[in-house]
């Protein structure tokens, strides 16, 4: 006649029946989530390990400082130059856009501009390759500059977004103090706001450079026909560069070329990993400093 099992004060306090099932499901889900995280880290570790172990064999001083076939110096120099030119274009524009967003734009202008930046950020890099090809290469010649324009478009939204975040963190009290002294807007922007945010702006830029330095798709159309023996610093001709050379070697299927490509991959990956880890740590620190 009783509706359920009788109350037993001596029963062990462990779940049974439905609750046990629910807890098992929950534990399984926790396990799956942990496994997913472990798997992602394992893939990263595997890739980095492969690149490091196979690339280390290729790298010595000659590899870095001489041209093909003993080294990849021209490619390193070219990538450095292209990145510099790209950053020289993207950084001022990016910072000015960030200033526009924080200092001048009302919500009506800020919305569309932010959307524009998001769309620029989402453009596939091969599209940018086609773009610079049509704009700067077609009927003329390939050039490191054309590649740099594409990389600048990749860097631009990253720099603008990063700088904007830091600029927003500049304490109101600094601006107000500057206003109270009767300082003009431009002067307080240039001498108070920007210097305060400078650290964050530079680290955002480094992150953007790290992102753009390994971009291959635009360079395949903009700067892919080059002589790997020749050091070149003229951005108005096709410049040797690391990503395209890795791509070419990987397509060729020659074991010696593979070793060389692993070596370049190791150099590129270590630059990118150190730059982005370092910049991230610095960025977190300067943000903490600004907001405290």
């Amino acid at each position: 006649m009783s509706a359920g099992p009788a109350f037993d004060p001596a029963a062990p306090l462990t779940p049974s029946g439905n609750l046990r099932r629910r807890q098992a499901v929950s534990r399984a889900a926790e396990l799956a989530a942990t496994a997913a995280a472990v798997a992602a880290i394992a893939v990263l570790a595997l890739i980095v390990y492969t690149v490091a172990s196979r690339g280390a064999k290729a790298i010595d001083l000659d590899f870095i400082f001489t041209g093909y076939p003993t080294g990849v110096g021209p490619m390193l120099l070219g990538t450095l130059m292209i990145s510099l030119v790209a950053t020289a274009m993207a950084m001022p524009i990016g910072v000015l856009i960030a200033l526009f967003l924080t200092e001048y734009a009302g919500s009506r202008a800020a919305g569309p501009l932010r959307l524009t930046l998001d769309l620029l950020n989402g453009l596939p890099s091969i599209i940018l390759g086609l773009f610079v090809f049509a704009l700067l290469v077609d009927h003329k010649q390939q050039s490191g500059f054309a590649g740099a324009v594409a990389l600048a478009i990749i860097e631009l939204p990253l720099i603008a977004r990063g700088s904007q975040e830091v600029l927003l963190l500049v304490p109101k009290s600094l601006r107000e103090a500057s206003d109270a002294l009767g300082v003009a807007r431009w002067r307080s922007v240039l001498t108070v706001v920007l210097p305060t945010a400078l650290g964050g702006i530079v680290t955002s830029t480094v992150l953007a450079v790290a992102r753009a330095a390994g971009e291959t798709a635009p360079l395949i159309l903009a700067s892919s026909v080059f002589d790997p023996k020749q050091f070149s610093v003229n951005p108005f001709e096709s410049m040797p560069n690391v990503p395209v050379w890795i791509y070419k070697l990987s397509e060729e299927g020659n074991p010696e070329g593979f070793t060389e490509a692993w070596g370049m991959s190791l150099l590129l990956v270590s630059f990118i990993l150190f730059a982005s880890l370092g910049a991230r740590a610095l960025l977190a620190r300067s943000k903490r400093k600004l907001s405290s």
Binding site: T34, A37, P112, L119, L130, A134, P243, I246
Partner: protein, 329 residues
Amino acid sequence: MATTVSPAARVGRGARVSLRRRRFDRIADGALFGICLLAALIAAATIVLVGYQIVDGAAPAISKFGFAFVYETTWQPNFGTFGAGSVLFGTAVTSGFALLLGAPIAIAIALFLTLLAPGKVRGVIGPLVELLAAIPSVILGFWGLLVLAPFVQSKLEPFLHGAFGFIPIFGAQQTTGLSVFTASLILTIMVIPIIASISRDLFSAVPPELQDGAAALGATRWEVVRGIVLPTTASGVVAACLLGLGRALGEAIAVSQVIGAGSEIQASLFEPGDTLASRIALQFPGALTELHKASLFYLGVMLLVIGLTSNLVAQWVGRRFAYAGTVAK
């Protein structure tokens, strides 16, 4: 007399200086505003110019093939016949598969980072997962070519064919491992960090009162996730997946290294294929005729349209989510 003149003169000069300075300030203020506005306009102009140049480059192919280009499947550069059907298929399969596989893993990682991992572990694993996105695609593709593809060919293909061979997508083992399947795996690796980092930010913004309330009512951790965390962030997570999809659709280099450059539509994932982006990367440098180039530009137009659409839809879904969030509060 002299004593009354000199302070007045000083005041006059000061006033004149401050007047001149004020005029200079006004000009400089205007100039700073002007160049900031100019920079913003450059960004807007860039996107318009990109669209214009791509469509302009595609014009010969558009006028020759019209809309039929989008679904025609023959691509024979030597005969001047071009159609995007097969690469469109390849793009859909690789990106869809990458999302199908990557999204659950990425969401699980985000849940692990927000709900399970202790602070220190979170501080290490979070950035590491994002570093996965920092690896250049050419290196990921190179790794895929030399490490992943042989593994897929010798281990995964026979296993999947043996276990699920009755489904036609798991066809017979191929000789190289360069296939739609390998490309999808590489794309999976690429979309995971994007979806994971956005979802993590969403999950950590879920009000703790709601989660604690559910837990106090006796919900297990999984039930809190299913009942509170996922429903409140659903549209944001969808937006994150769409952004990941945009990344997968547009990836050219890594895909072109591992997909094997096939030009037919095949049911088996283990056959070679091609995507919109990878075909452009593979064929553009060697394209000789204007029509071939224009057709590749046409692929670019399609890619641009699909990419911008997925991006805009993601923004729209994301904004809807933000709106719902403020109402809930």
